[in-house]
Structure formats: C-alpha cells, structure tokens
C-alpha cells in the first residue's frame, strides 16, 4: 500500500456544479468542486447524506452532465465528446461498482467481466482472456465459472471490481461498494481493491464508513456540495514511533 507510485492525473474536475430544480426548490447538489484522481491513487469521498457524494461520482464517470464546470478523463473533456463519446469512455476507461445488483445473475463471473469488452466490439475469445486476467489480478480466477448466486457477497464485489478494471480500464468509481457486506468482508474487499490500484489503476470510493475510507491516500470531505477539507495520509513514523519505523 503506497502513494509513492502515484502517476499522472486520469480524472479531473474543475468548478464542478450541479443544480437540480429551479426557483425556491432549487438545490445545488455540487457547488464549484475541484478534484483530481491520479493513477496509483485511491481517493475516498465522505460527507453526510445529501452532501453531493454520489452526484460527484456520476459526473466524473460521465453518467450525468454538470450544470457547469468541466470533467476530463485522461485529458479528454467529457462535454466535448458528446453522448456516444461519453459512452465509449464508460466502456473503455471508467468502471463502476455499486453497493449491490452489480452482476448479471445468468452470466458466470468470467462472462460478467467480459461483457463490457464484448459490448465494445472486442472478440469473444480476447474478451474472455482479458476477463480471466482481470479476475486473476483480484486473486479470484478460481471463481471464473461460478454464477453470482454461487458466490458470497464479498466474492461478487471482487468480481464487480475485476469487471470495472477489465481490459484497458484503469479507473474505478465505487459508490458504497461494501455497504451490503459485513465489516470484515468489506475490509477484505477494500484490501484487494487497494492492492489492485497500487498495481496500476485509480479509484474513487464514496463511503459512510470511516474505516474503509482510511484505506485511501486522500479523503475528501463534502458538505452542502462543497469540499470542506481533504486529508492526506501522513507518514506512519509520525504516528506510532519506534514500531512504525522498524
């Protein structure tokens, strides 16, 4: 687990603002948010309900368009790409993981993971091979031929993470990815996600769970649509003295 290998910015938001409704019922879900996500980096977003966490994630992945401000993915401004271009970004560069309902029940793990590649026109054989590699990167290649109902919740979320980072995808956006799991299983999922990111990906998770957020390199605190603070992981030697320095 290390932030030392942090690389170039892969997702960037500037002055991101999202307004819902109009007049007296107008809500500023996001209000001028700047945030960067770099390769090799895990960022956690925390804040009370309604602070704009999920809205931020949707805008960064091109699932919605902001009222104003810009989102760039690997240098491409999402607004300039158009609807088809944004869909291509979602297929090739950015994957999502949600709290549940992540996998298609009638497909095996490897078929679920291969699906975004096949939708993108990759040949089935190549897609299966890359899906197998993505499962192996999460340490679950032995689950390849199981259906979701034959896996535990933690295993299903690992498959979902494998799918989010399959093929050329290097960015995973996760909204409460461990919300449906017990504490220890949730931590296991974060541990493998962390390792996967250290090995060459980037991730942003929205979570209410401080212990899971603590796996991140940075924690961004949102309140009323604005970033109120950001923590960066300190060096362990500053915290725990001799044992940490060993």
């Amino acid at each position: 687990m290390s932030a030392q290998g942090v690389g170039p910015v892969v997702v960037s938001a500037r002055a991101l603002t999202q307004v819902y409704g109009a007049g007296e019922t107008q809500v500023r879900a996001l209000d001028g948010v700047d945030v960067d996500l770099r390769l090799g980096e895990l960022v956690a977003v925390m804040g009370p309900s309604g602070s704009g966490k999920s809205t931020l994630l949707h805008l960064l992945g091109g699932l919605a368009s902001p009222t104003s401000g810009t989102v760039t993915v690997s240098g491409d401004d999402l607004a300039s790409l158009g609807r088809a271009g944004r869909a291509r970004v979602r297929r090739r560069r950015v994957g999502y993981v949600f709290q549940d309902l992540n996998l298609i029940p009638l497909l095996t793990a490897v078929e679920n993971v291969a699906l975004p590649l096949e939708l993108d026109g990759v040949r089935p054989g190549t897609a299966r091979r890359q899906a197998g590699e993505a499962l192996a990167a999460m340490g679950i290649e032995d689950l390849a031929h199981r259906f979701p109902a034959q896996m535990s919740g933690g295993q299903q979320q690992r498959v979902a993470i494998a799918r989010s980072l399959v093929g050329p995808r290097r960015v995973v956006l996760a909204d409460e990815p461990t919300g449906a799991l017990d504490s220890a299983t949730g931590e296991d999922v974060l541990r493998v996600l962390r390792a996967r990111i250290d090995a060459g990906a980037a991730g942003m998770i929205v979570t209410h769970d401080t212990r899971l957020a603590a796996w991140a390199d940075r924690v961004v605190f949102l309140r009323d649509g604005r970033v109120v603070d950001t923590t960066v992981v300190p060096g362990p030697e500053t915290l725990l003295g001799s044992r940490a320095a060993r």
């Binding site: 687990m1 603590a214 796996w215 991140a216 992981v233 300190p234 915290l239 725990l240 940490a244």
Partner: protein, 193 residues
C-alpha cells in the same frame, strides 16, 4: 493503561530483568506506549512489595524478576475483568467540546471538522501500517485494529456532536424568533388548523 498488569503478563513467559521487561513491553505494544526505565523500576518495586513479583536468580549483575502465585492470580483478574472506561469522560477532546459548547464565540462546526480530519488522517496512517502486518503477527494486527476502531468511534461521536449542536442552535434560533414574533406565530398556527 495498567503497566503493572502488562509487566506481570510479560513475566508469565519467563523471568526477566528490568531492561528486558521494558523491551518486551514496547515490542508487544508496538512502541505506542513508551516507558522510561524509572517507571519500570518503580512499578517493579511496588510489585515486589505487594508480593506479586519475586526476585529471581540474576544473570551476572542483572537482577531478574519472576511472577509469584499471587501475581498469577492478579493477572487472571486483569484478564477476566473489563477495563474501566470512566476515564474516557476526562479525555481532552470531550473536555474541549464540553467547554466549547458552553462558552460563546466558538465555531463548533469548524472545530469538529478539524478534529474529524485529524482523526481520519491517523486512521489512514494506522490502516497503512496494518496493510503491511505479516499474517503471523496477530497481536500487532489486533492492536492496530483496536486503535482504528477507537478512532472510528471518535469520528462517529463527532458526527453526533455536529448534528446535536446543529439541532440545538436551530431550536435556539427558533426560540428567539418565537419570542420576537409570538403573536404572529400563534396567529399562523391558528390559521393552519
């Protein structure tokens, strides 16, 4: 932290001198509770005085200590009784918050967020340490878990403080508005019924 009982626990493994005891104590607690030799010596004197520790054969000039039968009983008692948590109420953060909500002009929200960030930052550091703990070092992993869970509880408490303070100030604001406009508010309530 009961240094007395922790030293008794170390002595269950083998008789040891003061330096060895301190080294073992710090190794087992991950260096998070530094002890000075003065503390160790004073604690050992008291343990000998109370019959919980006995003088054992030395190694050269080093005085070694061993656990007595009474010491074993005392240690069993430590294992079997929960730790008194009443000291928590005297912690600095709780005291600081208690002062902050009772004196005027303190920006509680800012103070709470600053503390939350600090606590999360320490959780990040501890989690980073935990990710490097070898599987066979269960004690160190559990000790880090203890600190992480305690820090998490603090963050949850800060969330609670924030919402309690927000609700209290909203109620206070409403009360002040109420005092100024009681007649109109009563009229409004009446018309709403």
């Amino acid at each position: 932290m009961s240094v007395k009982h922790a030293l008794l626990a170390v002595l269950t493994v083998e008789p040891a001198g003061a330096y060895r005891l301190r080294e073992q104590f710090e190794r087992r607690t991950g260096g998070t509770w530094p002890l000075n030799m003065g503390q160790v010596a004073t604690t050992l004197d008291r343990l000998v005085r109370d019959g919980l520790v006995e003088l054992a054969d030395g190694e050269g000039e080093v005085q070694r200590y061993s656990l007595s039968a009474a010491g074993r009983v005392a240690l069993e008692g430590w294992w079997s009784h929960p730790v008194d948590r009443s000291v928590a109420a005297r912690e600095e953060l709780a005291m600081k918050l208690a002062m902050a909500v009772t004196v005027p002009g303190v920006d509680i929200a800012r103070m709470v967020q600053a503390q939350r960030s600090e606590t999360v930052r320490s959780m990040q550091a501890m989690t980073r340490l935990k990710s490097d703990v070898p599987d066979d070092d269960l004690a160190w992993g559990l000790l880090l878990d203890h600190m992480i869970f305690a820090a998490e509880a603090e963050v949850r408490w800060l969330d609670h403080v924030e919402s309690r303070v927000a609700r209290a100030s909203a109620a206070q604001g409403a009360a002040e508005v109420g005092k100024a406009g009681r007649v109109s508010s009563v009229a409004a309530n009446g018309s709403a019924k």
